[in-house]
């Protein structure tokens, strides 16, 4: 009996050992599935031959990808979102980077209140940010539209830029700048040849973050957009009567473009380190 049964417990024992040792990896894999199910769903349904209401699988087609502007108003909304995203990113990155340098490189009075002012917008729910800005625009009799959206996006992106760039500046070895000064570079040259190139990856990351926050924002935009449409607003409004498959095309395309940018960025920075 024992000779026959002996391998059995050892096998199941090994299985359970494998399981318990890899439990955390299995768990992580499940978490990734949870994260990606909706993305996969969106991607798959971008090929749905569904016409206007993209709810049930009707068959495979490439037409949505070949003609992403096929549905009414999709592309108009996307163009608005891209324009708003670029303008807001440029402004927020410049303003935020300046603040980050002031905080990271200078001693000045009012540092504490500055930090608080940077932190507060991040600790305020979007609905409050959106509602308060709209309340002000209404009180001033300003009609919300394209530029009020830009204003609101710059406002909530600045804090994220400051935090990202400041972290990069803080991780910079101050001796590098001292070494530049020691090697006959004045303040301006030190900034141009040493500080800025070293902080650049942080600034680029901050800009990418600002753009994706702006492009994807719905709540604040919805309050301050008036009749101007953006891509998220378009999706929300059309959700009631079914979203055209072209929206899935644009969502999926954004996903892959961003993924490529990030991966290329990673590869480039790794190559730079090596060569």
């Amino acid at each position: 009996m024992t000779t026959i049964n002996a391998p059995m417990p050892s096998l199941s024992h090994r299985a359970s050992r494998w399981f318990s040792r890899n439990l955390i990896r299995i768990y992580a894999a499940l978490a990734f599935i949870y994260l990606f199910i909706p993305v996969a769903y969106t991607f798959v349904f971008s090929f749905n031959d569904a016409g206007k209401s993209n709810l049930v699988w009707q068959g495979f087609t490439l037409e949505n990808w070949q003609n992403p502007c096929g549905a009414p108003q999709v592309c108009e909304a996307v163009v608005n979102s891209l324009q708003i995203g670029v303008i807001s990113t440029v402004l927020a990155t410049i303003l935020g980077t300046m603040i980050a340098f002031a905080l990271g490189r200078y001693k000045f009075k009012g540092r504490k209140s500055t930090n608080l002012l940077i932190f507060l917008p991040m600790a305020t729910p979007e609905v409050v940010l959106g509602a308060s800005l709209l309340a002000m625009f209404l009180n001033l009799r300003v009609n919300p539209g394209f530029w009020t959206i830009v204003i609101s996006h710059v406002m909530f992106c600045i804090s994220f830029v400051v935090v990202t760039v400041k972290a990069r500046i803080a991780s910079l070895d101050p001796r590098l700048e001292q070494a530049a000064m020691d090697l006959y570079a004045n303040e301006r040259e030190t900034f141009r040849y040493v500080t800025l190139p070293l902080v650049m990856p942080g600034i680029a990351g901050a800009a990418l973050l600002a753009f994706s926050l702006s492009f994807d924002d719905f709540i604040i935009t919805n309050f301050n957009s008036g009749v101007v449409s953006t891509f998220p607003k378009f999706v929300y409004v059309s959700a009631a009567r079914g979203i055209p498959a072209q929206a899935n095309v644009i969502g999926s395309a954004m996903f892959f473009i961003a993924l490529i940018i990030v991966i290329v960025g990673q590869v480039v920075s790794r190559k730079r380190k090596k060569i």
Partner: protein
């Protein structure tokens, strides 16, 4: 950028009554110092003694709270660091990670608008024997290689004074030994004044012509390595440079060229020239390798007991307890006269008066001991 005017003075580096305060803390306290042109000078001391602050003031990275710094006849106290003809080899090197080795070395030349950057950089690379690495990035280099590049980057500018801030701290022992010889060679070759800041007494003693031992913002003693080791003037210097046996005693007579010291009923002799104080209460000092396990000499302690022994290759180190509350360290060379004692053996110790020194007995007998291992 040719607009950066760099001063071109030569001459001795002079610090005149320089102090540096951070709030209530005095990092450098009324320090005066002359470093002769072309010498290899070391500032030695434990961490927090003010040596790095002193270095940074010479580099122009800190401004003194009081006093003046000058090179030759030019006062550089408030001159910006990029206008001083002084360069620094930073601790951990501070090579620019985004630039190649070539561009790192060329950095200072380009800022000063030097025309023939390429040949200057190449000769600097040759000086440190790193010419084959010109196109690499700093993080592809080993610690020792980075060290050489940091030296080349500073030296290529032919500064009047080169500052080295713990330059060998990040290297392992073997490499450190090698670089000590290397740095000494480079200094002899280029003839620039080197000021070397370190907490490592061995490093200072092997390389520098003159060593200034710093403690709590002041210079305790300045001199050649031999002077400092054989004739320390304070308990701090005695303990900080190598190991030292100090015995508390009292001078009972000063006659002719010698002084007599009594401690615990025993009398010892010490040449008057080696008495560093006018005080009668003294610490009598003798280095461990000067002690002999014998009882024939003028200065001797009998009835001691061996409490510990350890074999360290070239010598055997004994810990020996005197008949009173005092432990002495004894190094015995591993050659013919070896005693090979065991723990518990009774021995006598003796040493020559000319190897004895007497220090002011007012301070802490342990000052400077156990400090040299810190960062």
């Amino acid at each position: 950028m040719a607009n950066n005017k760099v001063s071109q003075d030569t001459g001795d580096l002079k610090l005149d009554r320089v102090s540096k305060h951070y709030g209530d803390f005095c990092a450098v306290d009324d320090l005066s110092l002359i470093v002769p042109d072309g010498s290899f000078f070391a500032l030695l001391g434990p961490s927090g003694c003010g040596k790095t602050t002193t270095l940074r003031m010479i580099a122009g990275l800190e401004e003194p709270s009081a006093g003046t710094i000058s090179i030759g006849d030019t006062d550089i106290t408030t001159q910006k660091s990029y206008r001083r003809n002084v360069n620094t080899v930073f601790q951990n090197y501070a090579l620019f990670p985004h630039l190649t080795i070539f561009e790192n070395i060329a950095f200072g030349l380009r800022r000063r608008g030097v025309k023939d950057v390429k040949s200057e950089v190449e000769s600097a690379l040759n000086l440190v024997e790193m010419a084959h690495l010109a196109e690499r990035k700093p993080n592809q280099l080993s610690g020792g290689q980075q060290q050489r590049i940091a030296v080349a980057r500073a030296i290529v500018n032919r500064p009047e004074v080169l500052l080295l801030d713990e330059p060998l701290g990040a290297l392992d022992l073997k490499l450190r030994r090698q670089m000590q010889i290397e740095l000494k060679r480079i200094q002899t070759e280029v003839g620039i004044t080197f000021i070397h800041v370190t907490h490592d007494q061995e490093e200072a003693m092997t390389m520098a012509d003159t060593i200034a031992v710093m403690n709590q913002g002041k210079i305790e003693q300045m001199g050649s390595a031999t002077d400092l080791y054989e004739a320390p003037k304070t308990a701090f210097v005695a303990n900080f440079l190598g190991q030292c046996n100090l015995i508390k005693g009292k001078i009972t007579s000063r006659a002719g060229d010698k002084a007599t010291v009594t401690a615990k009923g025993l009398t010892f002799e010490v040449p008057l020239s080696r008495v560093a104080t006018s005080n009668d209460s003294v610490f009598l000092g003798v280095r461990p390798e000067k002690l002999r396990l014998d009882d024939t000499g003028v200065n001797s302690i009998k009835n001691c007991v061996v409490t510990d022994r350890s074999f360290v290759g070239t010598s055997t180190q004994y810990l020996v307890r005197a008949p009173w509350d005092l432990e002495l360290v004894v190094f015995e060379q591993n050659d013919e006269g070896l005693h090979d004692l065991r723990v518990g053996d009774t021995v006598s110790l003796e040493w020559d008066p000319e190897h004895t020194f007497a220090l002011d007995g007012a301070g802490d007998i342990n000052a400077g001991a156990d400090l040299d291992d810190e960062e």
